[in-house]
Structures are given as C-alpha cells and as structure tokens.
C-alpha cells in the first residue's frame, strides 16, 4: 500500500483506531462539561439546601474547564474547527493553498511539541503540590491536558502530510455549513 492510498482509502483498522481515539478525546471533554454542569448546579443548590455544601465543587469545576479546553485541541485540528483567518482559502492557486496549509499544520505541530514539553515538565514537577480544597495532586491538571497536546502534534503532522500528498480538499458548501455551525 502506497502512502497516498493510506490517506485516500485508509485500511479499516486504522479508521477504527482514529475513530475510537477521537471518541475518547471527545468523551473526556464531554465528561468535563457534564462535571462542570453538575458541580455548578450543585453549588447553586447548596445555598438553598439545609446541609453543608462541599467546598471543593468550585475548584473541581474550574479544573474541568482546563481539561475541557485542552483535551479536544487535537480533535479541532482534524475537524478544522479551530478559529482561524481563512483568507488563504480564497486564493485561486491550489498549489499555493496546499503549501500554506502544509506549513501552517507543521507550525501547529511544532507549537504542540512545545506545549507537550511544558505539560510533561509540570506533570513531573507539580505532583508534590496539592490543590487547596480537593487535595488533588496538581500534576493531574497537566497530565490530562497532555493528552490534548500530544494529539495536536500527531494530528497536525498527519494533516500536513495529508495536504502535501493528497492536496487541500475543496470543501462542499454543506460541509462548510456543518463545520461553521459546530464552530
């Protein structure tokens, strides 16, 4: 199997793996969202209920926001859902568009490497620190975010290779609508 066909018609096992990894990343994001929803609702209710509330709800909710923000960063690269200036998309030259997209993805991958190193360093160093209310090791905050940064590196590199080998797909108007509505 040549490299081009790997992108055009990937083997079934690879599609399944990618789909499940994407689902896992989105599931962590969704779990963080539900946790925020539940914990903030709890905090609102605690004020009007006769029992003492849990002081850690606000803390865990804010940590969940950090996880939600970073863990799906890679998925956004693949689905092209990051907010970006799309001026280059209207340039009529397909080769120029292709080159720019490849460079853009490689830059994102490089920044992803920087973030991965930062997250790894903090995961190793911050384990001794505990959050004030929940007593959660602070390394956990960065360990879950690390998943998103590694995903950014892998997905941006794959996207760069895909654009270089297959080219930039001409997005249909329906695909564009779906993407914009989601974004």
């Amino acid at each position: 199997m040549d490299v081009r066909s790997l992108f055009v018609a990937p083997p079934r096992w690879l599609s399944v793996v990618v789909r499940w990894v994407t689902r896992l990343e989105l599931a962590i994001g969704a779990a963080a969202l539900l946790l925020i929803f539940f914990l903030v609702s709890m905090q609102a209710l605690q004020r009007y209920l006769p029992f003492d509330g849990w002081p850690w709800t606000g803390e865990l909710a804010t940590f969940s926001l950090v996880w939600l923000t970073f863990v799906v960063a890679g998925v956004l690269v693949t689905s092209d859902s990051h907010i970006s200036i799309e001026m280059i998309d209207v340039v009529p030259s397909p080769p120029l568009r292709r080159i720019v997209r490849v460079i853009s993805c490689l830059i994102v991958a490089a920044i992803g490497i920087g973030l991965t190193i930062e997250a790894w360093t903090l995961t190793e160093e911050q384990g001794v620190l505990k959050s004030p209310a929940l007593q959660m090791p602070m390394s956990w905050l960065y360990a879950i975010s690390l998943i998103g940064f590694v995903s950014v590196v892998v997905r941006a590199t794959v996207a760069a290779a895909r654009y270089a080998i297959v080219g930039v797909p001409d997005e249909s108007i329906d695909e564009r609508l779906d993407r914009d509505v989601v974004a």
């Binding site: 903030v40 609102a44 939600l68 970073f70 001026m87 914009d180 974004a183």
Partner: protein
C-alpha cells in the same frame, strides 16, 4: 526577542491560516524560551487563567444555546412572531428581528443564532418576495443582537478578563441590545416602504393564542437567568447552569430532545467551548508577555500624548475594535486588547462596564465584514450566496449599530443607569 518581531510573527501566522490560539501561543512560547523563562511557566500561567470561576459560564451558556437550538425553540418563536406581525407590511423583516431578540435571551453567540435562525428565516423571506440581499443582510445583522443581549459569551469573557461584575455587564447590555433591535426595525420600515407586493397574512387572535402558548415556557429561560442574577439568587455562572437545566427539562417535556440527540449536543458544546477557550487561554499568555514588555504603560503614555479627552479615547477604542474586528475573531480581539486598554481607560476615568459594552458592540460589526466575517460564512453556506451579497445586504443594517456605538461613547451614563439602579 523584540516586541516588534513578536507582533510581526503573530500577524504572519494569522495570515497563513495558523489557528488564532496557536498564533498567539507560538510566538509567546518562543519569547519565553528566548528570555530564559523556566520551562512549564507558560502552561502554568495559561492553566491558572483558564481555571477561573466566572469563565465557567462560557461552556454553560454555550450548552444552553445548543439545547435551545435542538429543542426547536426557534420554530416556536418564529410562529408566534409571525402570528403577531403577519398583517404588517414587511412582516417577515420584523419577525426576523423579534425571533433573533427572543432567541438571544437563550443564546450568546451570533454564529449559533445565524445558523439556527437563518435556515428558517432566509427561505421564508425569499418565498414571500423579499430580495436575497435584504434577507441575508437582515438575518446577519439581527444575529448580532445575541452576543450583546445577556447571556452574552463575549460579556462573560470580558468580565473575566477585566475582573468586573458579569451581572453589571449583563444589565448594562440590555438597553444597547434593545436599541439595536429598534434600529433594525427602523431600517426594515424604511426598506419596505411602498413595497405592496410583499406577502402578508391575516391577523387572528386564536392563532396568536395558539402560538403564544407555545412560547411561554421557553421565554421563562431569560426570567430564570436574569431574574436569578439580578435578584441575587445565583451568580452568573450558576444562572448559566440553572438555565441549561431549565432548557433541558423543556426539551425533554416537548419531546424534541431525545437521548440520541445528547451526544450531538455535548459534542457541539465541547467543540465550540474549546475553540473559544483556547483563544482566551492563549491570549492570557500573550498578555503576560505584553505586561513584561510594559506594553500597556507604553501605549498609555502614547495615547495620553495624543489626547487627554476621555471621549476621544473612546472614539479611538471604537475605531480600533472595529478595525481589529474585521480581521480577527471577536473573542481574540477582546482577549488581546482588554488587558492593554483597561489600564489606559482607568487613566481617563472611563467606566470599565461602558468600555466593555462599547468594545463588544463595535466588534460585533466585524462579524459581518470581510475578510473574517464568521456570520457571513454561515449565511453564505445557508443561502448559497456570495460573500459580497451578504456584506452589501448587511450594510444598511450596520448603520444603526455604528450610531449606537456613538451613543455609548457620548452618553455612557445612559447604559450605566440600569446596573446602578440595580445596585450592581
């Protein structure tokens, strides 16, 4: 690494389609490396800024909007508004504004508003004899009410960045949002004058009653949210959660939200939240770099040399927000400029709430202007239209918004009246 190189690098990355969040993060990380800052400091700063309780309202208000969208609230509002205004010439124009305003109480995003309502309103207007430009322009302009009317995502982000009361900003935004709607109605009135070929419907009380009954419960959402905040029952973040819970219950009761819809609602919310919050997080690091380079102080000195008049300063803010808003996403502009402009505004004695409302309204205009008009892209896709059609169609409707900005600049006390009266 000099500040000039940093700024040029950001501009270059933005032009070559690097996502806004990464265009902020990359050069900032490079700056941290070249200035020998410790490894890990950048991410720690970013995480600390993101882990903010007021910013928790962002995913929750996005969830509320997604739930309202999937629960079919837009259809109910549309039917009711049409029943009320059917007999009036240009009825669908007023209906578009009314529905956008009603939906804006539940959604804080113009893009979500344009996507949800555009599919409904644009085909209806085209079927009833309205021009394509008018339909596109009005739908786009009306969708801009959503990020101004509370609950507003940009207002939550501004309040988080500026450390001001979200409730006060919400209260201050109500009057400008209503004026926006009124201004749009005036443009519709002037546009449809003498156009007797536009289809009208007979007015009937039974129809108003039938459709009105279906919107009573959805219109309870803003009562719960704003009543909760202004009455002191909830914080804005808690009100967002309560509002989302309310909408969830409504969707389940109406049987428009089914179990199989939840993965889609959650995915939409997660993706939208992450794309916004990544920019907020990245901009916080850039703000740290700017603070190290004394950018706010330097800019403050430069602006003070230029003028000592607060109104002129506000005019400069308006011009800057409009120009940046045409080239950058509104959230990116806010996160980038608030940390710089806020200290300067304090020197001029400008109220941070008035500054916030002005910045939000003026940046929303950018959503309908090329090259980065997100609402334009959505409407283009819905109506299979050209970018120029959407933009030129929206120009008449942007005039009242520009006038509104001037109103805020010259009479800031007018928008501060409500938060002051409510003791916020």
């Amino acid at each position: 690494m000099s500040l000039l190189v940093l700024c040029l690098l950001i501009a270059l990355l933005l032009v070559i389609r690097v996502p806004v969040a990464f265009a902020f993060l990359g050069p900032s990380l490079l700056y941290m490396i070249t200035t020998d800052q410790s490894v890990g400091l950048a991410l720690r700063l970013v995480a600390e800024e993101t882990a903010s309780f007021p910013l928790l309202a962002v995913p929750l208000f996005i969830l509320l909007g997604c739930l309202a969208n999937h629960a079919g609230i837009a259809d109910r509002l549309f039917d009711f508004a049409l029943a009320l205004m059917g007999r009036v010439r240009g009825n669908l124009g007023y209906v578009t504004i009314g529905v956008s305003m009603g939906f804006s109480w539940m959604s804080g995003s113009a893009v979500a508003d344009a996507a949800a309502l555009g599919k409904l309103q644009i085909p209806a207007m085209l079927r009833n004899g309205y021009s394509k430009r008018f339909a596109l322009g009005l739908t786009g302009a009306a969708s801009l009410i959503a990020p101004v009317m509370p609950p507003s995502i940009p207002a939550v982000i501004y309040a988080g960045l500026a450390a001001v009361s979200t409730g006060a900003l919400f209260a201050a935004s109500v009057v400008p949002a209503l004026i926006m709607a009124l201004g749009l109605c005036i443009v519709v009135f002037l546009s449809v004058r003498g156009k007797d070929d536009l289809v009208r419907a007979e007015f009937s009380w039974p129809r108003v009653w039938q459709t009105g009954k279906r919107v009573i419960a959805p219109l309870g959402a803003p009562v719960v949210i704003l009543g909760g905040i202004l009455g002191g029952y909830f914080t804005p973040t808690e009100a967002a959660a309560v509002g989302a819970a309310y909408m969830l219950v409504l969707g389940v009761c109406y049987r428009t939200l089914r179990i199989r819809d939840f993965p889609k609602v959650l995915t939409e919310t997660v993706v939208t939240t992450a794309s916004i919050m990544l920019i907020v997080a990245a901009a916080s690091l850039l703000g740290y770099v700017f603070a190290l380079e004394l950018v706010p102080q330097r800019l403050s000195e430069w602006v003070l040399d230029l003028t000592t008049n607060a109104t002129v300063f506000m005019l400069l803010v308006f011009a800057l927000s409009m120009i940046l808003g045409t080239a950058l996403d509104a959230i990116a502009v806010l996160t980038l400029t608030v940390p710089i402009l806020l200290p300067i505004s304090a020197v001029y004695g400008v109220d941070p709430i008035a500054l916030g409302v002005l910045m939000i309204v003026s940046q929303m205009i950018g959503l309908l202007t090329p090259p980065v008009g997100t609402v334009i892209f959505v409407l283009q896709a819905i109506a299979r239209a050209r970018m120029s059609e959407v933009f030129w169609g929206s120009v008449p409707f942007l005039i009242p918004m520009v006038l509104l900005c001037f109103g805020i600049i010259f009479w800031p006390d007018a928008i501060l009246y409500l938060p002051k009266e409510l003791g916020l």
